[in-house]
């Protein structure tokens, strides 16, 4: 290492090498809202690695035009945890016919469960869904005269996320509404793999502007820099 050089534990790999770290039957978070901010490049590598199967996917939705939907169509997702699946007829059908398990949670509960999962907080009370069908098997409790539902935070073995840029330490920034669930999932997984459009030199990202400090990142993959 050269004098003045900085090295963090973040690795810079190809998508293929990165996804080879995903164990079979993993619980895996996938960033994005609709297709915006979804790590399509990493998902393509997961599709290509047929040893990865039996996944539990935590993602807001499974967009019909996303590689995540292709993965589902290949029958490699056994369970999905998220807020919205109505737009895919195939997902709804698979659920009704018992081919895939689905756990529906409100989008705000999902986002907070991810952030708190990454923060060492195992459970929290939320007013969302109190008194509704989604809370029927959950504990509830009254604080200051209002009913709240006890929700468990979410963690996973793997997070596949998308960011705009990474620096060579692994710090991340996002772009516009593609930020969404990505920084939260980065915090909540044992192994966080991020796909970025560009890797920049240390010092190019303003320290005030970094959204995901490298401490939450394990592997960075630059889009379009693979031999594929």
């Amino acid at each position: 290492m050269k004098e003045g050089e900085i090295k963090t534990s973040v690795e810079f790999l190809t998508a293929e090498a990165a996804v080879s770290r995903i164990p079979d039957k993993s619980r895996m978070m996938v960033g994005g809202f609709g297709r915006t901010g979804t790590p399509e490049h990493l998902l393509q590598a997961v599709i290509d690695n047929t040893e990865i199967d039996g996944l539990t996917i935590i993602s807001n939705n499974i967009n019909e035009t996303s590689n995540l939907h292709h993965l589902f169509m290949q029958g490699r997702i056994r369970k999905a945890i998220g807020s919205y699946y109505t737009t895919s007829k195939e997902v709804v059908k698979a659920y009704r016919e018992g081919h895939m398990d689905i756990e529906l949670i409100p989008q705000g509960t999902l986002s907070e469960a991810l952030r708190l999962g990454g923060s060492g907080i195992p459970a929290f009370y939320t007013p969302t869904s109190a008194g509704t069908e989604l809370a029927k098997d959950k504990e509830s409790r009254v604080f200051n005269g209002r009913e709240y539902v006890l929700e468990k935070s979410l963690t996973a073995e793997i997070a596949l996320i998308k960011a705009h840029k990474a620096d060579k330490a692994g710090n991340l920034i996002y772009r516009k509404s593609a930020r969404n669930f990505n920084p939260l999932m980065a915090m909540a997984a044992d192994l966080t793999i991020v796909e970025v459009e560009e890797i920049v030199e240390l010092g190019e990202l303003d320290p005030e502007e970094i959204i995901t400090p490298f401490i939450f990142v394990d592997i960075v993959v630059e889009r379009g820099k693979d031999n594929d």
Binding site: F33, G34, R35, T36, G37, N60, N61, S83, Y84, Y85, T86, T87, K89, V91, V92, K93, Y95, R96, I102, L104, I105, P106, Q107, G108, T109, L110, S111, E112, L114, R115, T126, P127, T128, S129, A130, G131, T132, E133, L134, Y174, R175, K176, S177, A178, R179, N180, F181, N182, P183, L184, I211
Partner: protein, 231 residues
């Protein structure tokens, strides 16, 4: 009156409730509300992480990284900001959003709302609706008075799975405006194009006439909208 004109009237009437502050607009009729908001005074929040949603981009200038909660391309304004979903829902659940305008399948006279699932139908999503309804300071339901099949939507009790209990503040349809006050339903506005008796027939819920009730002429409002609608 065309379907589009009905929807636009409901949207325009909903916008009259919103003269300043931050609002989150649901899918469907509520999306049209944006066209009638006072420009520069009402800021639109989108739950996927934007405060200050601007108009649709001109064709060819869409940005795949800049969409609203309905996944449609949008633009931003000079006071806009981006944030993650956790902060976005903190704004909603934490009571920081002044109002939301949303659609509904059913609304009950006590303010219960059902908007995400129909028993027996292939609906498998709740999205951000529950957070929006529990958190917004004011919940305005903008909906046609009846379902496409002619069934009542304003009921004594919801029969579909609830989105939230007792959270609706105002109901706006093409015929009337209702408010829920102290857990009871009041008719605050009726269009002259419908009689009290006819309104009662298509409204299953019990309601009283509010002290501040007024009657309005819908056609004249729609006429005034025409220019905007045709724009």
């Amino acid at each position: 009156m065309t379907d589009l004109n009905i929807k636009r009237y409901i949207a325009w009437r909903s916008a009259q409730e919103l003269q300043a502050g931050v609002v989150n607009l649901g899918i469907g009729i509520p999306t049209l509300v944006a066209d009638y908001l006072p420009r520069g005074l009402v800021t639109i929040h989108s739950e996927n992480g934007i405060l200050g949603v601007g108009p649709s981009p001109v064709s060819g200038e869409e940005d795949a990284d800049l969409v609203n909660a309905g996944k449609a391309p949008v633009t931003i304004l000079p006071h806009s900001s981006f944030f993650d979903s956790s902060l976005s829902f903190a704004m909603m659940r934490g009571g920081h959003i002044d109002a939301t305008v949303i659609g509904a399948l059913q609304v009950a006279e006590n303010g219960d709302i059902a908007s995400w699932a129909i028993p027996g139908k292939d609906v498998l999503g709740v999205g951000g609706a529950m957070d929006l309804v529990v958190g917004a300071k004011r919940v305005i339901v903008a909906t046609t008075h009846l379902t496409p099949k002619g069934e009542a939507k304003i009921l004594s009790r919801c029969t579909y799975p609830l989105t939230a209990k007792k959270r609706v503040d105002t109901i706006i349809t093409e015929y009337a405006v209702f408010k829920i006050r102290q857990g009871k339903l009041y008719l605050v506005e009726k269009v002259e194009e419908i009689s009290f008796d006819e309104l009662k027939k298509i409204t299953e819920a019990s309601y009283k006439i509010a002290e501040d009730f007024k009657s309005v002429v819908r056609e004249s409002a729609i006429d005034n909208l025409k220019g905007e609608i045709l724009n």
